[in-house]
């Protein structure tokens, strides 16, 4: 790559000089606003009221997005924004998982706000450069990059015609271009998307961090909801942030000592226990592949089944022993002793435009192995790694890609679509070649890849309207809700997790609540009220990570050795206290667990009202496809016949003897759908919402969120 030639071809469109403001107790109280339609760059003060109610991160993102759009704004309208924000605790270096950026935008998949979190160095660098948040609005005429130099205090918008779009190339090119030398590369972080982000609705944003040992720009993804698609639609090629001089106290915290103490205590806990617990340092989230299979929870063949005899071929030890480079500090921000960001070095690609090249694959994550692999019936670790690499570099979401490919495979096997429609792709379960070709088509914007890349929600409509598919059946097996593809856990045997997916703000993503084990395995939340309490507490608690700039994994992917002796082990009380100490240490504000939940409730309810404002936040939008609730087909019923028959007998009072499978499916379905409705009632009640899913004015008042613009929206839906 001729970096100089690329750089010389840049045309400066706008430049903004500023005095970088140092952080004070975690905040600069400044936001960088950029409009790439008219090349405006300006500084905005964060109002005190906004800081109090929205805290930071996702809270700031949602607040800015609300102000930027109207109820009729579509994802590809220029007024849609991409907001990147961290949060007050983000950027500290003493505790694991403290470098998360939260990205908010109107999603091309769901048409409502999406929020997605991502590691990499960009967010902390942005803060240290003087900005609590970055708002990007407008649409450029030609491909541009935005460059923020946090040491010099310069922001530039430049036309950038020659750089590649694919992330693994562009990340390297921009890092090389803006670093003064090899040692300076660690001071650069880049946001990119990829070629398939342009041609599909499932685009991701890749955030880089420079790996000083592997000497490569690693990629972490803000995966869900198609924000990369918005990015490329705005014709942004990349955003670079450069900051030299990271130290452990740049947040200028109120009490560094308590942060140090909490961080060192946690590092010791990891050092002493990780290898006895989840092995996150060795294999990251992929440690659960075989566990999910063992508990019948691994999605197989488009969520029909929960296990497969070939899972052993892709179990975590295969990746540990054969592929992932071990004993590397794999944190995606400094101080992450959990270090789950695994990488496979020198992986030789077998297909696509980079065939034959040795590349660094970031992963595999559990979701990749489950979605790209098991759910599509693919049990070849090298295919999973190759798809993982191409998803990242083409800039598409591995979860949506996995789930939508599983969906089209089932449609193909059941004759809903055929070879004419797929233009020759034989999309049978297990056909790795077809999946790889599909992903390359998405990059090129060709063939069936263009149709599949629309996402399941739009595809299912097309299959009904254009190809005469049976609507009821198709909607039953289409694992999407609100337009977002399900992430990779089989939830049909856990009512609480059905709610954990269905009763979410952004769509079925497990970052709000993962209750399968509590519910199904440990039977800790037996009643509707217990489940509703869990579906209140956990989504709120987990929302808090997104306000503060934190990763969820260090909370419960390791637990203190005495955790099981505590009153509520599932909450990991000692770690919750760690977070309260970190918040206090940075901001000087001592809050308890109740106030922590209320901070989240303010933003959570704001997001719910935002959804309603955009036309997708009511009870009808929380309905889920039956595939996520129970057996749609005869084969699914038969695969768990004993369990289902027992449930009919014991829970429904229906004697299955002598009944046809169809009768049994129908009866079980009526029961399970009713259970979901009852759960929905209980959850809405617990959250302070009407039975139509609308936050009540009383609830908003109680939270101090009775803002006129929110009341105006909810009042329309109160009767």
């Amino acid at each position: 790559m001729d970096i100089l030639k690329m750089k010389n071809s840049h045309k400066l469109l706008s430049e903004f000089i500023y005095e970088p403001k140092a952080l004070y107790r975690g905040y600069t109280d400044k936001t960088l606003y950029i409009n790439i339609s008219d090349n405006t760059i300006k500084e905005k003060d964060v109002p005190q009221k906004m800081k109090e109610k929205f805290i930071g991160g996702k809270g700031y993102g949602l607040r800015y997005l609300w102000d930027a759009v109207s109820p009729t704004t579509k994802w590809n309208d220029p007024e849609n924004e991409i907001v990147v924000a961290v949060g007050p605790v983000g950027g500290i270096t003493q505790y694991a998982g403290t470098g998360k950026s939260l990205i908010v935008s109107i999603s091309p998949l769901t048409d409502i706000p999406i929020d997605s979190n991502v590691g990499g160095y960009f967010g902390p660098f942005l803060k240290f450069s003087g900005w609590d948040a970055l708002e990007v609005q407008g649409k450029a005429e030609k491909d541009v990059i935005i460059v923020i130099d946090g040491n010099k205090g310069i922001v530039r918008i430049e036309e950038a015609p020659l750089e590649d779009v694919d992330a693994h190339l562009l990340g390297e090119q921009l890092t090389e271009m803006y670093a003064e030398n090899e040692a300076d590369k660690r001071n650069i972080s880049v946001i990119t998307a990829g070629t398939a982000a342009e041609n599909t609705n499932i685009g991701v944003l890749n955030f880089t961090f420079y790996d000083v040992r592997r000497k490569v720009s690693r990629l972490k993804q803000a995966g869900r909801g198609g924000i990369g698609t918005v990015f490329r639609n705005k014709r942004i090629k990349g955003i670079v942030c450069k900051f030299k001089g990271v130290k452990g106290d740049l947040n200028h915290p109120y009490d560094q000592s308590i942060i140090n103490k909490t961080g060192i205590k946690y590092h010791k806990e990891i050092a002493q226990n990780d290898h006895l617990q989840n092995n996150m340092r060795k294999i990251g989230t992929a440690n659960i592949i075989e566990i999910m299979d063992e508990y019948d929870l691994l999605p197989v063949h488009n969520f029909q089944y929960g296990k497969h005899p070939d899972t052993y071929k892709i179990k975590s030890t295969v990746f540990i022993e054969k592929y992932c480079t071990q004993n590397m500090p794999d944190g995606c921000w400094y101080g992450c002793s959990m270090s789950c960001a695994k990488a496979v070095d020198n992986f030789k690609l077998k297909t696509g435009p980079y065939k034959g090249q040795n590349v660094c694959v970031d992963g595999p994550e559990y979701e990749n192995a489950a979605g790209l692999g098991a759910n599509c019936g693919i049990f070849d670790p090298e295919v999973i790694l190759e798809l993982n690499f191409y998803c990242d570099t083409y800039g598409i979401d591995t979860i949506s890609y996995g789930t939508l490919t599983a969906f089209v495979m089932e449609c193909y096997e059941r004759g809903i679509i055929n070879k004419d429609i797929t233009e020759g792709l034989e999309l049978n379960f297990g056909n790795a070649e077809a999946s790889l070709e599909l992903i390359h088509q998405m990059s090129r914007g060709e063939g069936f890849g263009k149709i599949a890349g629309m996402g399941i929600h739009k595809m299912k409509k097309l299959f009904v309207e254009k190809y005469g598919a049976d609507k009821d059946f198709l909607y039953d097996i289409a694992c999407e809700q609100k337009g977002l593809e399900y992430s990779e856990y089989l939830c049909k045997e856990s009512l609480a997790q059905q709610g954990g997916y269905g009763l979410t703000n952004k769509g079925p993503q497990h970052d709000e609540a993962w209750l399968i084990f509590m519910d199904m395995v440990n039977n800790q939340i037996p009643t509707f009220e217990d489940k509703a309490e869990a579906l209140h507490y956990y989504p709120m608690f987990r929302t808090w990570f997104g306000l503060l700039g934190l990763c969820k994994l260090p909370w419960n992917d390791i637990t203190p050795p005495n955790n099981s002796e505590t009153d509520e082990p599932a909450k990991v009380p000692e770690h919750v206290n760690n977070y309260l100490d970190l918040y206090y240490g940075v901001t000087g504000n001592r809050i308890d667990n109740n106030e922590m939940i209320r901070q989240s409730e303010r933003v959570y309810n704001f997001q719910r009202v935002f959804n309603i404002r955009m036309g997708k936040g009511l009870r009808i939008n929380d309905a889920t496809p039956y595939r996520s609730m129970g057996p749609v087909t005869k084969e699914e019923y038969e695969s768990r016949q004993e369990r289902y028959d027992k449930q009919l007998r014991e829970l429904v009072g229906f004697n299955p003897e002598g009944k046809t499978i169809e009768e049994k499916i129908k009866t079980l379905r009526a029961y399970r759908e009713d259970q979901y409705e009852k759960l929905t009632d209980a959850v809405y009640k617990r959250r302070g919402w009407t039975m139509n899913g609308v936050p009540t004015p009383e609830k908003l008042r109680d939270l101090g969120m009775d803002l006129p613009e929110l009341l105006e929206v909810v009042e329309k839906h109160l009767n």
Binding site: T93, Q94, R186, V212, R213, V246, K247, G248, D249, Q256, S257, N260, G263, I264, K265, Y266, H267, K268, I270, A271, N327, P329, G331, Y334, G335, S337
Partner: protein, 128 residues
């Protein structure tokens, strides 16, 4: 490789080593700022915490601020250190030290001042 070794049976807990070390590093007599630590675990029995230059800290440092010099001693480049303290948490002997007055950790460089100050020969420098 040059490193500090100990014979805890000889230690009388006088704290001279801590004093001389913290004075050398930070110009104050403060055991909490010493790279060597003496702890009385029972009457007349002391535990000495010293760095054996094993290198675990090098492995976990995300910025390669810890490197081994030609004599085998692990040194911290404070300029590159980001103050994450993972080296403190992962040190098998708890010999990577930290004090809240500083945002970087500190460690033994096997200078031998403590050896010279020790009245009983409980500390020694060896080269192997």
């Amino acid at each position: 490789m040059k490193r500090l070794v100990k014979d805890e049976n000889l230690c009388i807990g006088c704290g001279k080593c801590e004093e001389v070390c913290s004075n050398a590093f930070f110009r104050e007599s403060n055991a909490a700022k010493s790279c060597v630590r003496v702890q009385e675990i029972e009457e007349n029995k002391h535990k000495l915490t010293i760095c054996n230059q094993c290198g675990k800290c090098i492995e976990v440092c995300p910025v390669q601020a810890l490197t081994r010099d030609s004599k085998g001693i692990i040194r911290l480049n404070k300029k590159d250190c980001v103050g994450c303290f993972m080296c403190v948490g992962f040190c098998p002997d708890n010999a990577m030290m930290q004090h809240d007055d500083y945002i970087e950790p500190f460690k033994c460089i096997a200078c031998g001042l403590c050896v010279k100050s020790c009245p009983t020969g409980a500390l020694k420098i060896v080269e192997d």
